[in-house]
Symmetry: C2
Subunit: 309 residues, 2 copies
């Protein structure tokens, strides 16, 4: 679908569109400042199972995964629309809790829920449309250059480890989507490219490499691994953390000349920031290497499954 | 859900929100001109059955039902997001046709499809988020005053008659959603209140009456009935047309002092415009009357089933 959308956007060539389909969010001209637009759906049975989250936590999650796309563009969320599809048997209290959880998360992020729709359907699905505004630089996937450092916020692998534990029948707590709403615009000021880690670090860095026409080398030992992932995966933790999805951290590239500015920004991010590799010349692939520079074979390394369309 | 959204909006009191939840669309401050935001979902099995529309026609319909909400606010559509949920077995050609049908309808209306999402799910569901801009007056449901005339564009009942024929096993053509994109902003210049007819004339006028704190009297003989509805329903056609849904015509109230301006606008609308009744004082209910002024009993008259949330 992304390739079709890109094709349609090329055909259109609309002067109002600054960044068209194919990035974390679209950027359009709709006033003085550029407006960012994104949409994402959580479908029961596809993206989550019943009981993984309370209705309120699911509402919060639906907001945060869209806010993550907005943050990855360097924007701040402003207005949200919430479309819910639910079986007729769903308790009204559960729907109310979902909407309130969503609205609270929006409010904490400085955004407001302005509209919604409720439709009957065979299962629960939550589709969000989120607007944001950019007051500084827009970060896209397409600006990484050879020699840029590759950085990631927070730690990776907690979400994947929890999903795997659930699949094995253990009732572990599902981690919340981190709030990188403040970090996004700050990092966009120095980033040459940015994306959120939704499909997995190596896959999402692959998107950046293809959009920018560069390669990347990631040092496995530098990948920040979430504690729960390290406990569950042991020696496999770095590879697991680099390939499992839904961590919603920010992944960015920064030119060497802005490394100083980045160090000044880092303490204000409210989260860890780790340099994990470097942008290199060559084919747009991502190579994960061990401490001695040997390639770590990875099931996902640098390939795009288009599994999220 | 609308009542919950209204409650949340009241609690928020956000200065950026001009019109909050509970109208056809929200209106927010996001630049020089007010921006209109709306979302709506078409769910297979709830809003349509497989085979009612080709994928391209379904895409066009998904755009048009959202554009109808934008038109009812007096706005023009600008940017669209398209979130599709579909079974993994769906043919890629069908998804492509749906997206192209949507994009073509958007383009014809002066809008552009800027982003989307494709998620696996047990059935087909299409959720649209649509932005619009207002260059003139914003029309809400809340401005109708005693003595205002009640008007409707086009003709009613074709959609309901087709759904009924399909239910009876006849393969009639499903009518397309009319394009009232040009009429909406023109009518907003003179309307005291406006809404689109999605739930049925009497129900939707009931929404206007409650939001405005007025009543309404509609003359059954004046209700413009679609030819297909008249053929199928005979003597029952006016009541059927006044209570069946999904016609997506514009329903508006106009103060007597603007009747002259309305007659000058009418020839530019590209569709019929019919005066069907009058706003009256009293409880916020809608009374359908026959040629002798007697109340026509109606299963839906003036009551809101909240069946669309």
């Amino acid at each position: 679908m992304r390739s079709l959308l890109r094709e349609l956007a090329r055909g259109g060539g609309d002067a109002r569109v600054i960044v068209g389909p194919g990035d974390d969010a679209a950027v359009v001209r709709a006033g003085r400042r550029p407006v960012v637009l994104t949409t994402d759906t959580l479908v029961e049975g596809t993206h989550f199972r019943a009981g993984w989250w309370s209705p309120a936590a699911l509402g919060e999650r639906a907001f945060r995964i869209n806010a993550s796309d907005v943050a990855a563009m360097g924007a701040r969320p402003t207005f949200a629309l919430l479309a819910i599809e639910a079986p007729g048997t769903t308790a009204v209290a559960d729907l109310d809790a979902l909407v309130r959880g969503f609205a609270r998360a929006a409010c904490r992020a400085g955004a407001v829920l302005v509209g919604g729709n409720l439709a009957a359907g065979p299962h629960l699905a939550v589709t969000v449309a989120l607007l944001g505004t950019v007051s500084g630089r827009v970060a896209t996937r397409a600006g990484a250059r050879v020699g840029d450092g590759v950085y990631v916020t927070g730690a990776l692998g907690a979400s994947g480890a929890a999903v795997r534990a659930r699949a094995a029948g253990r009732r572990v707590r599902m981690p919340a989507v981190p709030d990188r709403g403040a970090a996004g615009p700050r990092l966009a000021a120095v980033a040459s490219a940015m994306i959120d880690v939704s499909d997995g670090l190596l896959q999402d860095l692959g998107h950046v490499c293809r959009a920018s026409g560069v390669g990347a080398v990631i040092e496995a030992v530098r990948v920040p691994v979430a504690a729960a992932c390290r406990r569950a995966q042991g020696a496999h933790a770095p590879l697991f953390a680099a390939t499992s999805g839904e961590d919603y951290e920010l992944l960015l590239t920064v030119p060497p000349r802005r490394a100083g500015a980045l160090s000044r920004i880092a303490p204000q991010l409210g989260c860890r920031l780790t340099r994990i590799g470097t942008i290199v010349a060559g084919r747009p692939t991502v190579r994960l290497v061990d401490a001695r520079g040997r390639t770590v074979p990875s099931p996902h390394g640098g390939f795009d499954h288009f599994r999220r369309g």
